[in-house]
């Protein structure tokens, strides 16, 4: 990175340096470290999945229908955040904000389902302290849910900014970054869905 900075001037002369691109790359690096965080949580869950301390296991309590619905909700929201990007590239501020709001609404739906699932699990006697299995389960699924929550707050902030300032190079970069982040959350969820839920009920 220091190399990139020291050549800043040189590149500028050729019109190649692009601070926006650099900032997007910085965000990309954050997401890649986030991959490593999730890798640790997945590894923990896989290793501990048999340690149920004679308590309930996932297959007893998981209601797969709700999980299927939330999977499709998140998948659709990943698609709508892409549509928002297309509207932005057309320069259509209203369309951009519309699809971002749809994305946020779907994200809230996903979060609502996840919270009601957690409440259901705790009522059935599977809390984070019940066994190693449930500790790993709530940590992994909860960390993903936390990421979704941050994403929702973030996209709402950007909607407000867009309404106020319109599509500028700055807001454009922010929309690009949140859209990447949102796709990333969907990718993580695919693996949560596969490894935590489908492999549990099979």
């Amino acid at each position: 990175m220091s190399q990139a900075v020291s050549h800043d001037h040189e590149h500028h002369d050729h019109g190649h340096i692009d601070q926006n691109k650099l900032k997007q790359f910085g965000f990309w690096l954050f997401m890649m470290t986030d991959v490593i965080l999730f890798a640790s949580l997945f590894a923990t869950f896989i290793v501990l999945r048999d340690n149920t301390s004679a308590g309930p296991i996932g297959a007893d309590l998981i209601e797969i229908n709700g999980i299927i619905v939330s999977t499709f909700i998140l998948l659709t929201s990943s698609f709508t955040s892409g549509l928002a990007l297309l509207e932005m590239n057309k320069g259509n501020k209203k369309g951009l904000i519309f699809w971002l709001v749809v994305t946020v609404a779907l994200g809230l739906g996903f979060l609502g389902l996840e919270i009601s699932e957690f409440i259901h699990l705790v009522h059935e006697g599977a809390a984070i302290h019940t066994s190693a299995y449930w500790s790993a389960f709530f940590t992994l699924v909860g960390t993903h849910g936390l990421h979704v929550t941050v994403g929702i707050v973030w996209i709402i902030g950007i909607c407000l900014q867009l309404a106020k300032r319109g599509i500028t190079p700055d807001t454009r970069r922010r929309v690009n970054i949140t859209s990447l982040y949102w796709h990333f959350l969907d990718v993580v969820w695919i693996f949560v869905f596969t490894i935590v839920y489908l492999m549990e009920v099979m």
């Binding site: 998948l75 695919i190 009920v201």
Partner: protein, 105 residues
Amino acid sequence: MASQHHEEHAHGSLKQYVLGFVLSIILTIIPLVVVLNDMFNTTTTMVVLLASAVAQLLVQLFFFMHIRDEKGPKYNMVALVFAGLMLLTIVIGSIFVMANNVLIQ
């Protein structure tokens, strides 16, 4: 502004997004059908599940995140490959070590 111009190129078309969305839906339905109908034995089911998940990861990377569109040196690809390597090391390494700890137990 030059940067805006080339960003416009960098973000795919409606066709790409729709195709990616349809592929993702198919790749979500395949494992669901396999699991809910108990179609195969455990090993085959695991392979189908993981293959669908990885395929969907690739669909999202190429159709939604436009991983290939980066101009110039592909630093994002380098970071991605590194993260993938770390991920496989952590997950497979943990499974391997914990599956071979009979002596301690």
